[in-house]
């Protein structure tokens, strides 16, 4: 049942819990208890909103930054990852297999702001060997949601 609950609120965290309980065939109290437990267990880590900033007047640039680092004795990649994820402008930090080690997603107000983060803060960290910054030009799909959607169905008689 947990899986079903999570699937539903992953798609819509604002879903009406009374309706969700009906749809899943369980009582509202049981559902609320289950959700609280998952919040306590940090299975549910937060509730966010998916925004198409393109449609607002707010200027924003997003970037993906590939980072190659030297792991540190006794701490592996965790220490350097922590140094990076503590910056509030950093959205996400992943440790990856493959050609580079860490992938950062970052949001800034302008190209300049992102590039100064890379040159002033990121590149100057001791264990960072190199970085490659990719600016996002267009978001087609985010969090499983296609940003531009149109539905064209023909009317028919069954």
């Amino acid at each position: 049942m947990r899986e079903q609950i999570l699937k539903m609120i992953e798609k819509n965290s604002r879903i009406d819990l009374k309706e969700l309980a009906i749809m899943l065939g369980m009582s509202e109290v049981d559902l609320m208890n289950e959700i609280s437990r998952m919040e306590e267990e940090k299975i549910i880590c937060g509730y966010h909103t998916l925004i198409d900033w393109e449609k607002t007047s707010v200027e924003k640039v997003s970037a993906l930054i590939e980072v190659r680092v030297t792991p540190q004795r006794g701490q592996g990649f965790d220490h350097i990852a922590e140094r990076i994820y503590n910056y509030p402008e950093v959205n996400a930090v992943y440790l990856l297999s493959g050609a580079y080690d860490i992938l950062i997603t970052l949001e800034g107000k302008s190209l300049k702001e992102v590039s100064s983060f890379v040159s002033d803060k990121l590149s100057t960290l001791d264990s960072v060997l190199s970085t490659a910054t990719h600016f996002i030009l267009k978001k087609y799909k985010d969090h499983g949601t296609i940003m531009a959607n149109n539905d064209e169905r023909l009317k028919m008689t069954p």
């Binding site: 079903q4 009906i22 749809m23 009317k155 028919m156 008689t157 069954p158």
Partner: protein
């Protein structure tokens, strides 16, 4: 000038749903809960396979019975789901939707005057197809108190010495009724006793919410006398691809293939390639859509209980069939007023047979948001009717 038309065809009544939807299409802001078509798009990997086949230039006819690869996958699928084996070479025919299979099965099996038993309420094409095959349709009016299941007694009472075929369509459109194994066993006994054949339309087989659907063909002695019809429209949200299939004894399938060859040649090639992908890798998609339908089904049943609207709990397809007899109106009047006053389209039960009088078919192949709005309006509408009636 001579009359260009065939009397037989002219006498066939048009679909009762048609008239209604002509009005709906003139109302752009109406919410329709009328159409029996999944609101999901075909899963992308299936569409992708269709596109890929086009890119590779696979635009030729397939063999009349359908791509061998597809027939093998259909055979595997039925084995996986029902545990019975159909020979992909001689016992499976790929058709243009389940609809074609219904038509040619009837035309291949009846002689003029043979009786075909059709339990109603049911899908709109069985009766006209039987008539066009020169059969005599014999209607059984299924009962609300039996949750619209067919009982052995009802079947027995409809059989004459001319009866040849029983059409079974469960999970059912429009009622959402199912037939469980024990129900089917009682029917099979009567079928065997009277040496009948069964055309079993199982197009909604994947949409069974309590337990997995059982085909009557799996019961002892029944595979030899059953044409099992299924397709991709409902399970994989592939309505527009127009692809279905029929499975049955070689003797009958041979004639059906012949008819299919003369009328159709073969089912669309692109659709067939896409369908191979659906059967190979589509089980997860089906499970996900089934869960979504089930959630909506629970939501609707809850709303009906809240409104105090009588409705048996349907466990199949994507329809609910609430009873509106308390309002003292015909189904058609109810549906028409509901459409005019609240701009919500539902289908009067009478579109599916006379015994659908007093019922409505509501499809939940619509997003939960649409359903919420529509049910809110229904609540308001019903409250208004009750108030009028109490005066």
């Amino acid at each position: 000038m001579r009359n260009p038309l065939s009397d037989k065809i002219v006498d066939v009544k048009p679909s009762g749903i048609r008239k209604f939807f002509d009005i709906v299409s003139e109302m752009p802001d109406a919410i329709s809960l009328g159409v029996g078509e999944p609101d999901f798009d075909t899963p992308w990997h299936i569409r992708d396979e269709g596109i890929y086949s086009l890119e590779k230039g696979k635009t030729f006819y397939t063999s009349n019975a359908g791509l061998k690869e597809l027939r093998c996958e259909i055979s595997n699928y039925i084995m996986r789901k029902q545990g019975i084996k159909y020979d992909p070479i001689n016992e499976i025919l790929v058709t243009v939707g389940g609809s074609e299979a219904i038509d040619i099965a009837l035309r291949c099996m009846v002689n003029p005057g043979d009786e075909v038993i059709i339990p109603q309420p049911c899908y709109v094409s069985y009766e006209p197809c039987a008539v066009m095959a020169d059969a005599v349709p014999v209607i059984i009016n299924l009962k609300h108190e039996n949750e619209f299941r067919l009982t052995a007694e009802e079947l027995e009472a409809a059989i004459t010495d001319k009866t040849k075929i029983l059409i079974l369509a469960f999970p059912n459109n429009p009622t959402g009724a199912i037939m469980e194994k024990k129900d089917l066993e009682a029917i099979a006994e009567v079928v065997l006793k009277h040496d009948l054949y069964v055309i079993s339309d199982e197009i909604y087989s994947e949409l069974s919410y309590n337990e997995a659907h059982v085909s009557i063909a799996t019961l002892p002695g029944m595979k030899e006398r059953t044409i099992m019809i299924n397709g991709f429209s409902k399970a994989y949200a592939m309505t527009g691809w127009r692809l279905g299939y029929a499975c049955g004894p070689e003797l009958i399938m041979k004639q059906m293939t012949k008819l299919h060859q003369f009328a159709i040649m073969c089912a669309p090639t692109t659709s067939q390639y896409a369908a191979v992908e659906a059967l190979k890798h589509g089980d997860g998609d089906v499970a996900e859509m089934r869960e979504a339908y089930n959630q909506r089904r629970r939501f609707l049943m809850y709303q009906f209980r809240e409104m105090g609207l009588e409705c048996f709990e349907p466990y199949g397809a994507f329809y609910v069939f609430p009873c509106i007899k308390e309002f003292g109106m015909t189904s058609e009047d109810f549906a028409m007023r509901f459409l005019e006053e609240e701009k919500v389209a539902v289908v009067p039960g009478t579109a599916f047979g006379d015994c659908g009088e007093g019922f409505l078919r509501i499809s939940y192949a619509y997003s939960i948001d649409d359903l919420k709005v529509a049910l809110g309006r229904m609540k308001r509408f019903i409250a208004r009717l009750r108030e009028e009636n109490s005066k």
